[in-house]
């Protein structure tokens, strides 16, 4: 039998323990709550994204259909009108193509089917072709795109760089498209590329609305657009930069941003030259995978 005093002591200990438990439970409850909030936020973002891309795919198609119908119905003498309609069709189709590429690339990255395929690429030509593809869009906003490629004279083949051209193309397209989208009209965009030892560096500088400091961290999150009001004026589904970041990750590259609200943004990417070595630090010399001798461990 326990004395009263002992019983009281025991009770005290148990009470203290249960109080501790209650605190822990409350803490776990809070954690659950925050996870729950995050999940519902992600759900909301996803449905927002779906309605967004529906708009972005349906609207260009509607204008392409309408415009092409107009062209078919127009007379031969209306050549100037026809030409301007064809230009609009091209620009809508171009935007559509770009958006779809981003969506498919995101899906491919998620499915793990996006390993880089490195080939020797003429960087200068690649960037020039991207810029000329965006020329029409830039002209609509009276923007000038200045491109400079700093050649290292010591490297005779400085133009050439082993990389995945398709992925690099999408990365640069996203940066340039953003630059044009968020630029103030009648301004300029600077694109500069240079080699830094074994890396390719590329900078896209715009003089546009810029990004707030507090938002710099979330711009790579999927589906996030910083300002919903911009949404109505400018198309975009918030996938571009997250795709850009993931592609750079796949190629062991990185991206830096310097930006000031109201002044503009500078995006700088750096990509190491791709080669045949594996990321874990083992060189593949072609003889790595000779299996079938007695030394192999079999599982």
């Amino acid at each position: 039998m326990l004395s009263d005093k002992e019983l009281i002591e025991q009770l005290k200990i148990r009470l203290a323990k249960s109080a501790e438990m209650a605190v822990m439970l409350a803490k776990q409850g809070e954690e659950l709550q925050s996870v729950n909030e995050k999940l519902s936020e992600s759900e909301a973002l996803k449905s927002h994204f779906i309605s967004n891309i529906t708009n972005e795919i349906v609207n260009p198609f509607a204008s392409i259909l309408g415009l092409s119908k107009n062209i078919i119905a127009s007379k031969e003498s209306d050549i100037i009108k026809i030409k301007s309609m064809a230009e609009l069709i091209h620009s809508e189709a171009f935007e559509l193509d770009f958006q779809l590429k981003n969506i498919f690339t995101a899906a491919r990255i998620e499915a793990g089917e996006a390993s880089p395929e490195y080939i020797k690429t003429d960087i200068s030509q690649l960037i020039t072709s991207i810029i000329s593809a965006y020329k029409y869009k830039a002209e609509q906003k009276q923007l000038k795109i200045n491109f400079s490629f700093d050649l290292d004279k010591a490297l005779s083949d400085a133009h050439f760089f082993r990389t995945d051209p398709e992925k690099l193309k999408l990365i640069i397209s996203n940066l340039l498209s953003n630059g044009i989208k968020y630029s103030n009209a009648a301004n300029r965009i600077e694109v500069k590329a240079w080699r830094d030892e074994n890396s390719l560096k590329l900078m896209v500088k715009d003089f546009g609305i810029g990004i707030d400091k507090k938002n710099l961290e979330i711009i790579f999150d999927r589906f996030k657009r910083l300002d919903a009001s911009i949404n109505s004026l400018n198309p975009g589904h918030g996938l571009g930069l997250s795709v850009t970041k993931s592609l750079l990750d796949l190629m062991n590259g990185n991206i830096e941003i310097a930006s000031k609200r109201g002044i503009g943004s500078i995006f700088t990417i750096s990509i190491p030259e791709g080669d045949d070595t594996n990321s874990d630090g083992y060189a593949l010399d072609g003889n790595e995978f000779i299996f079938g001798n007695s030394e192999d461990e079999v599982f």
Partner: protein, 161 residues
């Protein structure tokens, strides 16, 4: 000289980090692992297999949920096996890699160890039996996975600094 299997015209595939591979056609899938982990899933009834190669244990919730992360890579691989017609009860797993190949004094991140842990935990949760493994240690591994037979050949490798 290549091994006899390759002479039998079975297709080969080199699996890059952060990728996964699962196709109904028989393949020899090669990959090199350091602190990364590869989970090989094999269905002895359908005679098909799939493999992933992930670099980090958990997706942090931002950016894209790519199979660079263990929790995503394992889930996607199981989904692919089910999509190819396997039933979950038949699937067996073999896990490789997760060595601490980079010599750090503090070893604060324990990437290899955590990569292994997520594989073991997730497979246990999914009730998928682990029938073979070579994990941890300080060496890298080269593996070749035959998706038709489920056999994995492995070599330990010295670091080539």
């Amino acid at each position: 000289m290549r091994s006899s299997e390759q002479e039998n015209n079975i297709k080969t595939h080199y699996l890059y980090p952060a990728a996964l591979f699962a196709e109904p056609e028989p393949h020899l899938v090669d990959t090199i692992l350091g602190s990364c982990v590869a989970v090989c899933l094999y269905d002895p009834v359908k005679k098909i297999g799939g493999i992933n190669h992930y670099m980090l244990p958990f997706w942090n919730g931002t950016g894209l949920a790519s199979p660079k992360y263990g929790n995503i890579a394992i889930q996607k691989l199981v989904e692919k096996m089910l999509f190819m017609g396997s039933s979950k009860g038949n699937i067996q797993a073999k896990i490789f890699g997760g060595g601490e190949v980079v010599d750090t004094k503090t070893n604060m991140f324990k990437i290899g160890e955590r990569n292994i842990e997520i594989a073991e935990n997730m497979l246990a949760e999914l009730k998928i039996k682990i029938t073979g493994k070579s994990i941890g240690g300080k060496q890298g591994r080269k593996i070749r996975f035959n998706t038709e037979t489920g056999v994995v050949l492995m070599k330990l490798i010295q670091k080539s600094t």
